[in-house]
């Protein structure tokens, strides 16, 4: 067994969930995505604060839907890390309750809070590091970027011009795409 398989098995043992095969899903493309210009991002966290203030009404780093990679200053490949609204959203695919769905207006992959059971499967399955889904410990629910209904607060707050909101009514080829023949 490869290292990755061993790791997966350990995780499954811990969580007492048997590995379940979930077929890939075909969902409409997102109509918008937040793009980061890493050269201009200084990790000033304006976006993080704006996100938590807008969506949660508090200032927090943990509850923001947009994250920073690791510590602000030490790891140099750092910049703001928004959700990429993947073509093949692994979070949506592996959500056991179907709480994650596609927003009709923006095409954003959103979590319907009343159906979320807090299993954190989506966070685990997110192919990116750090995972673009945050976990609200107090409410025991996963929270993720919904593009603020088409007017993202983080993009408005960015003072360095590092964040832009790119839209295309026909859909954006973005984020994770399942490699051919892998399933």
């Amino acid at each position: 067994m490869s290292d990755q398989q061993i790791e997966t098995e350990e995780i499954n043992k811990k969580r007492l969930i048997k590995p379940v095969f979930v077929p890939p899903v075909h969902v409409p493309l997102s109509k918008g995505v937040i793009i980061v210009d890493e050269e201009h991002c200084t990790c000033c966290m304006h976006c993080v604060h704006a996100c938590s203030l807008t969506n949660e009404g508090v200032c927090s780093h943990e509850l923001a839907r947009i994250q920073l990679a690791e510590s602000t200053n030490y790891i140099f490949e750092n910049s703001a890390k928004p959700c990429l609204q993947c073509v093949d959203p692994q979070c949506l695919r592996y959500c056991p309750t179907g709480a994650i769905k596609v927003d009709a207006a923006t095409g954003a992959r959103i979590i319907e809070q009343k159906f979320c059971i807090g299993c954190q499967n989506c966070i685990e399955k997110c192919p990116y590091d750090p995972p673009r889904i945050s976990f609200n410990k107090a409410k025991k629910k996963a929270v993720k970027c919904d593009l603020c209904g088409g007017d993202p607060a983080c993009v408005k707050a960015c003072s360095h011009g590092a964040l832009t909101y790119f839209t295309d009514p026909n859909g954006v080829q973005t984020g994770y795409i399942q490699p051919k023949g892998s399933v």
Binding site: C43, V58, S60
Partner: protein
């Protein structure tokens, strides 16, 4: 109980002697003492009595966060470290040191408004704090390591998102000018708090907070932030609509001015060949639109990479230019930043402002007081034959080179040879040199050089230079009339504007801000200046209590006032708009001013209780009164200054420089008046 906005609600107390960890409710202190510097000053008043020495176990090391920190308000990244400072001469007293970065955010998200450390551990320890869980851990594996090694080690142990405050070898060896390094290469630099931490056998504090801070009106905070950002970053000739008005930019903003200036494209680092330069990128503090730092990553990522501030990289430039010739090209800059940060030494100890266009002149009439730094003083002593290669062991012939820098900093941090003398602190080392015959027949001149360089007494006595940074209020702040006067005088001479914003000619904002056009008149020392001094005092107190970065808010302020008065809401240091949005009450500038007046009086009372009486602290050294401008005017005419001081005391409601009972009671500080009376120090 009503919902608590803005504050975390608890204060953590760690007693290292008895290993007792307790929490006290912030409501004992807040919101009466605002937060940050004011909160810490009140704790100082309650707990640090005059008998306690700066390096005694009973001294308290207080890390306090500001009222606006971690609320999402723009520019509110700084936090305060306050204790009885060993660096101050002749009597150790209160000193608030300010550091930027994420440190304050982590404290607040971990659930605390402040952390008080007291006592002394038997063996080296460090604190590990995560969301209200506190442990005192063995630091045997960290002791002796540099600050960046310590930080990396703590990150390996506790996760990469951990924030650490730690001391380097200088702090462990109780070097008086040692720092506490926080975040990544920023520090509580002045005051000698590294030595205070070292005296407690506390190597580091690692902290991680995942909580959140409630605010009253989140949408309004974002609106205010956007407003301030628009004013701060408008380009010359650009038109923007702000707050329903159309403004046209006049001055160039410092973004991305600084980092390009510091590390111009194609800069060759001194150790690039040795270590391999990988990447440089712009960096700043949380919640700020200014890029005042540069992230530098070398091949040995772990140890020497970091983010460096403009000051660190510029201040060795003069020396470098002198030794290597040509334009400073970063041969030693990076070395400088690494050495001072890693060893944990105050970088202004090894810097000079000569390159930035400030004259370094020790002539009796030369206006040198504005720009002389410690190393300039030692250099002059070397020129005068007091310090030589024999009696110091330093390669003076290679002054400005990497070799000199390494010798000098290592000697101080490890207290070897002459370094042990310097590590006693500026005042005591000068005394030592004057008393020892090996320093030759001219050694008595050191007193003159010292007086040209350092302030006389009081809050900055024997510690801060008469440096131009006073005026700007970058980093540590000023609530002492003499310091403020010096700062104002720098403003009058136009130096500050010239350096900060290339906007020397346009000082309209100054007149609006200080409410008088006399501020431009270098010969006027009347009541209007006394009023301006008070405004300046509040302005700094405001920055340190809120805690808002003085550098940015001043830029925004001057840019805003120059454009349109109403754009700035009267102040930018945590505007009343920000306060109202965070705390949910309608707070006006007058309310805030009243709070700051209370805090200024409290600090003055501490000062008096610790042993500074009456005007003793409010005076320059005699040599400063002789300084003359280029036109030949006396810069600080003694009689006029003394007259001005009495006006200032009168406006403050003080008698002979000390707060009266009536004034203290008016401000709700009856307990302070009572204790001063018990000590026989109430006038």
């Amino acid at each position: 109980m009503a919902e608590q906005y803005g504050y975390a609600g608890k204060i953590l107390r760690v007693d290292l002697t008895d290993k007792i960890i307790t929490e006290i409710p912030s409501a004992n202190y807040l919101p009466k003492y605002v937060g940050g510097r004011g909160l810490a000053a009140k704790i100082y008043w309650d707990e640090i009595t005059p008998e306690i020495g700066a390096l005694d176990p009973e001294n308290r090391l207080i890390f306090a966060t500001g009222a606006l920190t971690a609320t999402g308000a723009a520019y509110a990244a700084p936090s305060v470290c306050l204790a009885k400072a060993p660096c101050i001469y002749p009597v150790s007293t209160i000193y608030p040191s300010i550091a930027l970065g994420r440190w304050g955010y982590e404290i607040k998200f971990a659930g605390y408004d402040a952390i008080i450390v007291q006592g002394k551990a038997e063996k080296p320890v460090y604190l590990w704090i995560k969301d209200g869980h506190v442990e005192i851990r063995n630091a045997a594996s960290l002791w002796g390591k540099t600050t960046s090694q310590t930080r990396m080690k703590l990150m390996q142990m506790h996760g990469k998102n951990v924030q650490a405050a730690c001391i380097g070898p200088a702090g462990e060896n109780l070097v008086i000018q040692s720092i506490i390094a926080v975040d990544c290469n920023t520090a509580f630099a002045h005051g000698g708090f590294g030595a205070v931490m070292g005296s407690k056998n506390l190597k580091a504090i690692a902290i991680r907070g995942t909580g959140s801070i409630k605010v009253a009106n989140p949408k309004r905070i974002l609106e205010v932030n956007e407003h301030m950002r628009k004013v701060a970053t408008i380009l010359p000739g650009e038109t923007r609509s702000v707050g329903g008005k159309t403004i046209v930019g006049k001055h160039r903003p410092p973004v991305p001015y600084f980092w390009q200036y510091m590390w111009p494209k194609g800069t060759k680092m001194g150790r690039e060949q040795e270590l391999g330069l990988v990447k440089m990128s712009p960096s700043g503090c949380p919640g700020c639109n200014t890029i005042c730092k540069t992230k530098v990553r070398l091949a040995d990522n772990a140890v020497h990479s970091g983010s460096f501030e403009c000051g660190e990289s510029l201040l060795w430039a003069g020396q470098e230019q002198e030794y290597y010739g040509g334009r400073p090209a970063g041969r030693v800059l990076y070395e400088f930043a690494i050495l001072t940060d890693d060893l944990g030494i105050d970088s202004s100890l090894v810097s000079s402002m000569a390159w930035m266009g400030f004259p370094v002149d020790f002539g009796p009439e030369a206006p040198g007081g504005g720009s002389i730094m410690h190393l300039d003083m030692l250099r002059e002593a070397h020129k005068r034959g007091i310090l030589t290669e024999e009696n110091t062991g330093l390669p003076w012939s290679k002054y400005g080179s990497q070799e000199f820098l390494r010798e000098y900093t290592y000697k101080i941090a490890y207290r070897e040879g002459f370094g042990d003398v310097i590590a006693k602190g500026p005042a005591l080392s000068t005394k030592y040199i004057m008393e020892h015959e090996e320093f030759g027949p001219r050694r008595r001149e050191m007193e003159y050089l010292y007086q040209k360089t350092y302030t006389k007494a009081g809050q900055f006595g024997g510690m801060r230079r008469h440096a131009i940074v006073w005026g700007k209020g970058v980093g540590d702040c000023v609530v002492s009339p003499m310091c403020t006067l010096f700062a104002l005088h720098s403003i009058k001479r136009g130096k500050e504007l010239e350096v900060m914003n290339n906007a020397r000619a346009d000082s309209a904002w100054l007149i609006k801000w200080y409410g008088t056009d006399k501020i431009k008149d270098t010969t006027y020392w009347g009541e209007d200046v006394a009023k301006a001094v008070i405004i300046h005092d509040y302005y700094h107190m405001e920055g340190d209590c809120a805690t808002v970065c003085s550098f940015n808010s001043e830029l925004t302020l001057m840019r805003g006032l120059a454009l349109d008065e109403e754009l700035t809401w009267g102040s930018v240091h945590g505007t009343p708009e920000q306060w109202s949005a965070v705390f949910g009450e309608d707070i006006t500038q007058e309310d805030l001013m009243k709070q700051y007046e209370r805090l200024v009086n409290l600090e003055r009372a501490i000062w008096i209780r610790d042993g500074y009486l009456e005007g003793a602290a409010d005076a320059f050294h005699d040599v400063i009164y002789q300084e003359k401008s280029k036109a030949g005017d006396v810069l600080f005419p003694r009689e006029k200054l003394e007259n001005l001081l009495s006006v200032y005391y009168q406006l403050r409601g003080w008698k002979d420089g000390a707060p009266t009972r009536a004034k203290l009671e008016e401000l709700g500080l009856k307990d302070v008046a009572d204790e001063l009376e018990r000590n026989g120090k109430l006038t």
